[in-house]
């Protein structure tokens, strides 16, 4: 399946020209936060990601679905500048994912269920550490920490070790830390796995809040109700993107009543045995 790259929307990018870094940018268009063009990754003879093309616009919540082993993690690693594509190209936050990996890493946020924060550091220490890694000034970190603690109602937890917090708490904090440096796009890899149903919903409210501030969200999940919260959803099968549209249109296209139904129809086509 091929998705044509839409012509650039101009006008919005003028604001950013004062920033020197932008001169490094290949694609001077702030509306497309992710552009993948025929992106491919081979490991030996195995094609983990097979010629995928798509783009994600600023402020969008983009759901990246697929069965275990469909190639999601490999694709995500390439988009985060952690793995070099063997074919095609990708632009994330205006930077080339092959040639400008360090600039890509600086411009994104990342959070997963498995790795989020350091358990043996306090809440404020985790924030300071990650803020520092992303090059934020001490004063800015302090001010933003205060605001964040208020917004999350976490004032009482500020000096607690992260390891002592309930999981739901941790995941909300981890997400807030992943966007603390105001990245252009945040990659969330199964952020709500194992989280209780109420916290899971509060987590999505944080996601909506982030997008309202212009942060783009790229998210994977195994909860099909969460697929419905995305503006658009892509479904990978055996390394290829087999469907990409809004949840509403996908349900129409597959004559399905739920995203679970759409997913089941597509994922059952998989012939790949490996995970």
């Amino acid at each position: 399946m091929f998705y044509a790259i839409k012509p650039a929307l101009n006008g919005q990018d003028q604001k950013d020209t004062s920033r020197k870094k932008m001169s490094n940018s290949i694609q001077n268009n702030s509306n497309k936060v992710i552009v993948a063009e025929n992106l491919t990754k081979k490991f030996g003879h195995f094609i983990a990601v097979d010629d995928i093309s798509f783009e994600v616009e600023r402020g969008e919540i983009f759901g990246f679905l697929g069965a275990n082993g469909a190639g999601k993690t490999t694709a995500m690693r390439m988009l985060c500048g952690l793995s070099i594509p063997t074919g095609g190209k990708g632009i994330v936050a205006g930077y080339d994912i092959e040639k400008q990996t360090e600039l890509v890493k600086k411009s994104i946020g990342y959070m997963s269920q498995k790795f989020s924060l350091y358990d043996d550091l306090k809440v404020w220490e985790n924030i300071e550490l990650f803020g520092g890694i992303y090059g934020m000034k001490d004063k800015e970190i302090r001010e933003k920490t205060d605001l964040l603690m208020q917004a999350l109602h976490f004032e009482g937890e500020r000096n607690k070790l992260v390891g002592s917090l309930p999981l739901g708490f941790k995941q909300k904090l981890a997400f807030s830390v992943s966007i603390f440096h105001t990245p252009k796009v945040v990659f969330l890899d199964e952020p709500t796995g194992g989280v209780d149903p109420i916290t899971r919903r509060q987590f999505w409210e944080l996601i909506y809040d982030a997008t309202s501030r212009g942060i783009t969200v790229f998210v994977t999940t195994h909860y099909m109700d969460e697929a419905e919260y995305c503006n658009r959803v892509s479904i990978m099968v055996d390394g290829k993107i087999e469907a990409l549209d809004s949840p509403r249109n996908l349900k129409k296209q597959f004559n399905a009543t739920s995203m679970d139904d759409v997913f089941q129809q597509l994922a059952r086509k998989s012939i790949r045995k490996a995970d």
């Binding site: 209780d196 149903p197 099909m224 679970d260 995970d275």
Partner: protein
């Protein structure tokens, strides 16, 4: 060996089981029993106490207080007897990564004084799916295949009770359905299954379930009866602006609570006088368009959220 609990119909019994880790109360007095041949689900989020409960029942850790028995044997006094009789698949993959598929299965059979051949019938359906890869090292298997191998290893000594701690966590929806299909077949062979999961939609596949949060059971019953005890009416609501809709529904004093549920919002209504048309009118006043409201049957997730807020 004398059994503590002589009721042959009870496969697992827990009586006031408590467990603390330092100051954290992981289990706060759990009572339940599992009947022979049941698929019993322990359903709740991470950190609720599921794994602690499994470790106590499989005799790997001791409860601080309370008693428990498996297959009629006490988990403290008769732990050796229990270990012979149960199969346990922990949440984390715990087979030998540097042994092959076949070597792992063989090892577990030998440890339990049996052979693959002797109980092959029991694992056949599951093991056949990974048999083409039997010379491959377990560490090199895909997630789905590891899961099948772990289940085969937990079954190879023909246990009477099978403990599965979050077997489907992180597994995609298609593979999860397949896995539950396998459990149904095992149940038909008379094996009692205690299974934990954070996925509420898997509740309906169990005979009975216990909803667990913060070391306490919120409810124990059949999925059907839990749903029928929901109490409130539940409406599914849609409009063109779902984000604003959530805020407006929450501001409405007639609904007890409101949560996003995929492409709809679920509104729990405790006032009998309140009609769907009243809500429609309210939403129209708020400027919503293409409003759709339907009365629906609650899911286990609706029930869980209602119970956990009490």
């Amino acid at each position: 060996m004398e059994r503590t609990n002589n009721n042959p119909e009870t496969a697992i019994r827990c009586d006031s089981v408590c467990k603390k880790y330092g100051k954290t109360e992981a289990l706060k007095g759990l009572n339940f029993d599992v009947r022979r041949g049941e698929i019993f689900g322990i359903i709740g989020p991470d950190g609720a106490g599921k794994t602690t409960l499994f470790r106590i029942l499989t005799t790997l850790i001791l409860a601080d207080s309370g008693t428990a028995s498996v297959d009629g044997f006490d988990v403290v006094k008769d732990y050796k007897e229990i270990r012979k009789r149960v199969g346990y698949m922990p949440g984390r993959f715990s087979l030998y990564q540097d042994l092959t598929v076949e070597e792992n299965l063989n090892f577990f059979a030998t440890v339990f004084n049996t052979t693959i051949e002797e109980n092959y019938e029991l694992v056949k359906d599951i093991y056949q799916q990974i048999e083409p890869f039997k010379k491959r090292r377990a560490g090199k298997l895909s997630g789905g295949m590891k899961q099948k191998l772990a289940l085969s290893c937990a079954l190879i000594h023909k246990p009477s009770v099978l403990f599965l701690d979050e077997p489907t966590t992180g597994v995609d929806p298609v593979s999860r359905k397949e896995f539950w299909g396998m459990l149904k077949k095992l149940k038909e062979q008379g094996i009692t299954i205690l299974v934990s999961t954070p996925y509420m939609d898997e509740a309906s596949l169990c005979d009975r379930i216990a909803l667990i949060q913060n070391g306490r059971f919120l409810k124990i019953d059949t999925p059907k009866d839990i749903v029928s005890q929901y109490g409130n009416r539940l409406w599914a609501v849609q409009s063109d602006n779902m984000y604003k809709l959530l805020t407006d529904l929450r501001a409405n004093e007639l609904s007890e609570n409101c949560f996003a549920f995929g492409d709809k919002h679920h509104v729990s209504v405790d006032n009998e006088q309140f009609k769907i048309d009243d809500l429609r009118q309210y939403l129209e006043q708020k400027g919503h368009t293409n409003i759709e409201i339907r009365e629906i049957e609650p899911s286990i997730e609706d029930c869980f959220m209602q119970l956990s807020q009490r």
